[in-house]
Symmetry: C2
Subunit: 228 residues, 2 copies
């Protein structure tokens, strides 16, 4: 049977691009379906991810898989023969990659977004907490080109939002989280990562992200104003 | 080198017992170290999990791994030769198990606890939302003995808190979440699971859990009272 691989995604979602990167790295052909209006979702998305109703979804030969880190593991499991292996072979190293990917999704993504949309004392606290989280990643990348070693792996893809999306949040939130002085190794990694052709080719235009997050920020701030 | 396997855990934590179950199922000998006072953590725990400072931690030949679902994957990867395999071999089935384990930890554990410690309208909403989450699991287990098929696997271990811990929360929160009428398949699974000798042998005494959660509930309610 011919392989039919589809990705339902949104250009705005840092969780979606990691899936496209993984497929491109593995040389898997796929069709990308942009979910254009996240406030009015397509029947295909609702049918494919009835639990969370969120992008990304990978549809492989009509079977759907959701949750971006689960999808990355699936891609590595299913196309094991295609280099590169995304997860390391050593069980201890695999566990480390999974631990940090979960940590980054739970703490760094959430922390950066909170620091971006809050103000005053709440923002100061969020910035401090996010900086603590990024400091763990700085320690992890010290002395390595990629989190995956000499080549891009699962954890690099999971953190791949840092050089592009975080940069937009930093601008809009008038803050600097991953400062080159404080986080020299993370900055060097970010450069290495984003300059890799397959990664660079598959980034949403910065101005589209700025527009999207400007609108999300207005919404979050109007909610906060209502609460006061 | 002789294998040295240690588990730092707490009898109260549903995230810890799943690790012990996995090791017992795989026939891996380990030393269990009870973290007796979670308000005054041991230097070993702080050193082994400096990021989250939480149980469980698995220490294998002096290398520490944290996050219970990551530890389960590690145990399956590291002792691949020891039956049973916890995760299925088929990539699609592996993805499903990972998806539901994350779902249950994010939605069902949190939802049950919220329904337990809240009151009034907030409790009613939490109960409704938790029931929706458990309904997904009911659909998944229909027609199967275990989530892992004929034998206990990764997802069964991740959901293993339902027949023991949830039962305590239901009693203390004066609620019934996994009702035998509404959730007949989940109830049948719960019975099959908890009656399995290796699972039954490794459960904390119910009265200790009641005591622990009674105290946690008082604390949560005192926080809620202060807010009002």
């Amino acid at each position: 049977m011919a392989e039919v691989v589809k990705v339902i995604g949104s250009y705005s979602s840092l969780f979606c691009t990691r899936i496209e990167w993984a497929l491109k790295l593995k040389g898997v052909q796929y069709e990308y379906l942009e979910e254009k209006d996240l406030l009015n979702k397509t029947p295909l998305l609702l049918k494919s991810n009835p639990v969370h109703k969120k992008v990304p979804v990978l549809i492989h030969n009509e079977k759907a898989i959701a949750e971006s880190l689960v999808i990355l593991e699936y891609i590595d499991d299913r196309w094991k023969e295609n280099n590169p292996l995304l997860l390391p072979e050593d069980p201890q190293e695999r566990a480390k990659a999974r631990f940090w990917a979960k940590f980054a999704d739970d703490k760094c993504v959430f922390g950066a977004w909170k620091a971006c949309h809050t103000e005053g004392e709440e923002k100061a606290k969020a910035l401090e907490s996010a900086a603590e989280s990024f400091a763990f990643l700085e320690k992890e990348i010290e002395g390595k080109k990629f989190f995956g070693g000499e080549q891009i792996g699962y954890l690099d893809l999971a953190l791949g939002w840092i050089p592009h999306w975080l940069n937009v949040l930093e601008e809009l939130g008038d803050m600097k989280l991953v400062d080159a002085q404080k986080f020299p190794f993370l900055n060097e990694w970010a450069q290495n990562f984003i300059e890799t052709p397959v990664i660079k080719e598959c980034l949403p235009p910065r101005e589209k992200l700025v527009k999207y997050f400007t609108s999300s920020l207005s919404y979050m701030r109007s909610l906060a104003a209502k609460k006061q």
